[in-house]
Symmetry: C2
Subunit: 204 residues, 2 copies
């Protein structure tokens, strides 16, 4: 077989892995299948990425990069261009859901342990933090504008994110007893924002 130029190797492997994952699913994401799809030798995967987990980590990392872009700008509309701070947050979370629903298997690799024993690396966690930053910025603006309670935006953003994530997890795994899942998601987001926008009694 022709020898693949070294410069293309990682790209081709990563692209093939992403395509296999999204098209067929995590179960079909075997090293041999990736090598075949990338038209690359099996050994090359081990040369470039250390193991399957490392390859998955690269897939997850690329996913977070794409997620950050999707949050920042969708359809040519920068999130920051939305004036109302609350609308800003709501739109950001709507984009978040669209990413998850549009890329369910990649979302699974990014956030769940779709493969037993696999866990995102600290480096990829750093990339994930970039995605979170988009929401933190929006929350900060809302706090500054007096639309949300004055509190730590990093904490508040993670509260909202976690709630949204939980709803999406149930939606993607088809667990739950809800008729309109999109509306359910919006309601949870709205409820969190509502709960964060008026003074809370001291928690017990």
């Amino acid at each position: 077989m022709a020898r693949t130029p070294s410069g293309e190797l990682e790209t081709r492997i990563l692209d093939a892995a992403v395509e296999l994952l999204t098209e067929v699913g995590a179960g079909a994401l075997t090293q041999r299948a990736v090598a075949k799809a990338a038209n690359v030798s099996l050994q090359s995967i081990y040369n470039r990425f250390g193991s399957k987990h490392d390859l998955l980590d690269a897939v997850a990392n690329a996913g977070f990069v794409e997620l950050t872009e999707a949050l920042r700008s969708e359809g040519g509309i920068p999130l920051a261009s939305i004036e109302d701070p609350i609308d800003n947050i709501v739109e950001g979370l709507a984009r978040y859901r669209r990413f998850a629903i549009g890329n369910p298997r990649r979302y699974g690799v990014m956030f769940d342990a779709d493969v037993p024993g696999f866990r995102i690396s600290d480096a990829t966690l750093g990339t994930a933090f970039e995605s979170l930053t988009v929401l933190v910025d929006a929350v900060t603006s809302a706090v500054d504008a007096g639309r949300l309670n004055p509190d730590d935006p990093l904490i508040m953003a993670q509260m909202i994110w976690a709630a949204a994530h939980g709803v999406l997890r149930f939606e993607l795994t088809e667990v739950g007893f809800v008729a309109d899942r999109a509306a359910h998601y919006d309601r949870v987001v709205a409820t969190m924002l509502h709960g964060l926008s008026t003074p809370q009694p001291a928690a017990g």
Copy 2:
């Protein structure tokens, strides 16, 4: 080897599977390991449960049964014995977190696809609904007492559950940037309840 009495087979297999899962993790949960731990032939697992997925489903089902019991009564204190309806919900969710943190791997099998391709069966989903019912009852009481907005308790309960689940997912997978995870969980629960206890503006 001595022949295992038929009546004990399923119990022994299931117990061994649960113990292996909780003690070592999902990665060590192989059919051969389960057979060895249960002191049972490999074939017997296939005779009693159809496949590994079916065995996992049984593990998950038993987990939901236990979760329901843990929610209903903990330390001899029935959840229903708590008078204040909001305290009732808060305590129920605290018990939910204690179950998840105390049984992280079982929680993983019950709610996540810790094994690729595995999904809870519809029958087990029904058992999971029993767990949800505990929260639905508490929410219903709170609505009846005028402590939460008058709305569908089944939907409201799932909103709270999903939010709590999202926080726990991040906590169990060690994702997130929060100092005090227990307090973070409580805050999300409190915020959801606060958001559900005062009239909401019409969502956009």
